[in-house]
């Protein structure tokens, strides 16, 4: 019998019951709640007169709606009344049901996918869900993590389980050594360019290969975060020493008495050598250089040294039509050089790239430089209050402010523009977020997805530039 993949092992460990009709009941160890996708779930519980199955499996924090400007006035001073009600509703629901919540002005507040691992809430071998598609982030730790809808948020609250169907296994193997200045974001954008935005639909993707082993935990989170942009609900990386080290001393990590047993269990969380994958994609690390998206889907991505595609050279009519539509929305012409795209705004943040290493990478590029005149705004939004504090301890905030960037309070911010941080109609933005969909960052806004170093380079030059050349200067 063939060995098991990491995904197979995680699935088997959480299988409560296999039903005759082919559906399975899967146990959920951890649920993270935020203000946007939970209110209707709590309302559903109340209407049915149900209580949460297990309080200690849940953690909540508001992130999507919160302002990132000074907020010492608290929730009552959130200007947008609809956002204010949503944040207050989360506070009220957590108070009513006794769920641990890091409220808006708690230093531990932040983006759910930054906070979960930072607190040791996410652990190797756990199942983690959240009403947010970027829950795939937590797979970086060998956790089975995926986004769910609000009905399923309610289902997990009420039963601690999900009715699920097993996914297929895909291995994306990145072998070799990444070049200097090439980051995890470039790796995942490149992968999405190769397999396409629906290439991973129906699969759990394990990211493996020698290059993955040299990527830090934060970089692995960036990669798993965007598995969903390749269509896969689940991204995974096998546990190694870096994974285990990450959890030492985190607030919700196993206690000292439990630590050795936990680590022994975690070490099993790798795919067996003879495991069978339904699909294998091989990528050479040396082929990857800094990436920039030009269109309105994350798969519309090219090398920074490249040009915008020409729809007349695309044989597939549906794809050619998609390219034309995207060029029109983005205000770009076929064959235009990527480095000729001028920028109006820059956004460094989001659950993809708002951790301390991202802050450091961006600060290293802008240090001693100034935001270009044509860039109206360059925002830096740390992923949590703790990331913010760490960055300030290292003096990164001063570097950003000195260079003319804005240093903000933690939250999702301009990634999806539910709070006041948004693009104007027709504005181009170099963004470290995860989605370049039409209108995502604001009505008519034009998003280009890049790494933090590339966004920082764009901020100080006013257009895209290969950050490796800028830093080498």
């Amino acid at each position: 019998m063939a060995g098991k993949t990491l995904y197979d092992k995680l699935w088997d460990q959480h299988l409560v019951r296999q039903n005759e009709d082919g559906s399975s009941l899967i146990y959920i160890d951890r649920q993270i709640l935020h203000e946007v996708t939970s209110p209707q779930a709590f309302e559903g519980l109340r209407l049915a007169g149900r209580q949460p199955w297990r309080i200690d499996a849940n953690l909540a924090t508001p992130d999507h709606n919160v302002p990132t400007t000074a907020r010492s006035g608290g929730v009552d001073e959130i200007v947008d009344p609809v956002s204010r009600i949503q944040v207050k509703t989360l506070d009220q629901n957590c108070d009513d049901f006794d769920i641990v919540e890091f409220k808006m002005n708690d230093t531990r507040q932040g983006i759910v996918h930054v906070v979960g691992p930072e607190q040791g809430m996410t652990l190797p071998g756990t199942t983690v869900v959240c009403g947010d598609s970027h829950t795939s982030t937590h797979g970086a730790f060998g956790a089975l993590a995926h986004g769910i809808g609000t009905s399923e948020v309610e289902h997990v609250l009420a039963t601690q389980c999900l009715i699920a169907k097993k996914m297929k296994n895909m291995l994306v193997r990145v072998d070799g050594e990444l070049g200097a200045g090439v980051t995890a974001k470039d790796v995942v954008l490149h992968i999405i360019g190769v397999i396409g935005t629906a290439g991973g639909t129906g699969y759990a993707i394990e990211f493996g290969g020698s290059a993955m082993r040299s990527i830090t935990m934060e970089g692995r989170m960036t990669i798993c975060n965007m598995a969903i942009e390749a269509g896969a609900r689940v991204g995974l990386v096998a546990v190694d020493e870096a994974t285990i080290d990450y959890f030492k001393g985190r607030p919700f990590s196993p206690s000292e008495a439990q630590w050795d047993a936990a680590v022994a269990a975690w070490r099993e969380l790798v795919s067996d050598d003879d495991a069978q994958f339904d699909k294998v994609v091989e990528i050479k690390a040396e082929d990857i250089i800094p990436q920039v998206t030009w269109g309105t889907s994350p798969e519309m991505v090219v090398d920074v040294k490249s040009t915008v595609p020409d729809p007349d050279k695309e044989a597939d009519p549906v794809k050619a039509d998609g390219i034309r539509r995207a060029l029109s929305y983005m205000g770009l012409s076929a064959n235009q050089k990527i480095t000729d795209i001028a920028l109006d705004r820059v956004f460094i943040g989001s659950c993809t790239n708002s951790r301390i290493e991202d802050m450091r990478a961006a600060a290293a590029v802008v240090k001693g430089r100034k935001v270009a005149d044509n860039v109206k705004q360059a925002l830096v939004v740390p992923g949590s209050g703790l990331v913010k504090a760490q960055a300030e301890e290292e003096g990164l905030d001063k570097i950003f402010i000195e260079a003319g960037l804005e240093w903000r309070e933690p939250g999702c911010s301009m990634c999806l523009a539910m709070n006041p941080d948004k693009l104007g109609n027709g504005e181009h933005c170099a963004s470290t977020s995860n989605r370049n969909f039409e209108g995502r960052q604001g009505f008519g806004g034009r998003t280009h997805l890049v790494s933090p170093a590339m966004a920082a380079a764009a901020a100080v030059t006013g257009h895209f530039v290969d950050v490796r050349e800028l830093v080498a200067e």
Binding site: V16, D21, G22, S23, T89, G149, H155, C161, I163, E438
Partner: protein, 215 residues
């Protein structure tokens, strides 16, 4: 949950691939704490010429005449025909809520994004996968004939065209059962509470660090 057994309705063709959930319901409408009322903002940025705001009366807003749901021949549409990877992006269940609130009961496409597909079944909405050639044929037929209606029979798992051609589709037995009977998932799972408790007892032995840590 609303039952879905068989449905016949006007079919509207949305001829683009990778329709994402930001497109189906833009983020400013996600601030609602309700499950209903999203219909007027379904496809807001494609449907209207201006930028929509939550709680706005949409009746006087300028419509985009090119958008399929604004065209006279597709008024009252309850079945949507779409291209590959429909519903990609965010997990927002507001997307099926908006489709449902607008009156769409069924979406037919060559493929769907996983989370959206799953969310549909929780809301009495049926997503149907047909192969690309079949979807292509339906696009041609619906564009050629005013008032084109399809019939979707979940019991028999077929899509029936006006000329009587039938296209069979797959659906999980469990999901089909829930849709046909309008069953509440949570109620069904709670019938298995003993299994869940037995699992927890075992798991507490194997991995005690997973319990009582977050408080």
């Amino acid at each position: 949950m609303k039952k879905f057994t068989s449905h016949t309705g006007i079919t509207a063709p949305l001829d683009r691939a990778n329709v994402d959930t930001d497109m189906i319901i833009p983020k400013q409408f996600l601030k609602s704490i309700k499950r209903s009322g999203f219909g007027p903002n379904l496809f807001d940025e494609l449907r209207y010429m201006d930028e929509g705001q939550p709680d706005q009366d949409c009746s006087g807003r300028p419509l985009n005449p090119d958008f399929v749901l604004n065209q006279a021949r597709y008024q009252g549409a309850s079945i949507m025909l779409a291209r590959e990877n429909f519903g990609c992006g965010s997990s927002r269940e507001h997307a099926p809520w908006a489709l449902d609130d607008f009156g769409i009961r069924c979406v037919i496409a060559p493929s769907f994004a996983d989370i959206f597909y799953n969310n549909c079944f929780k809301n009495g909405l049926l997503p149907i996968v047909l192969d690309e050639a079949q979807v292509d044929q339906l696009f041609k037929e619906v564009e050629a004939e005013q008032g084109y209606q399809l019939t979707v029979d979940l019991e028999r798992q077929v899509v029936v065209t006006p000329s009587g051609t039938e296209f069979a589709f797959d659906v999980d037995a469990f999901r089909k059962h829930c849709l046909l009977n309008g069953l509440d998932d949570i109620g069904l799972t709670l019938q298995q509470a003993d299994d869940i408790k037995a699992y927890e007892t075992r798991r507490r032995q194997e991995a005690p660090w997973l319990f009582d840590a977050i408080k």
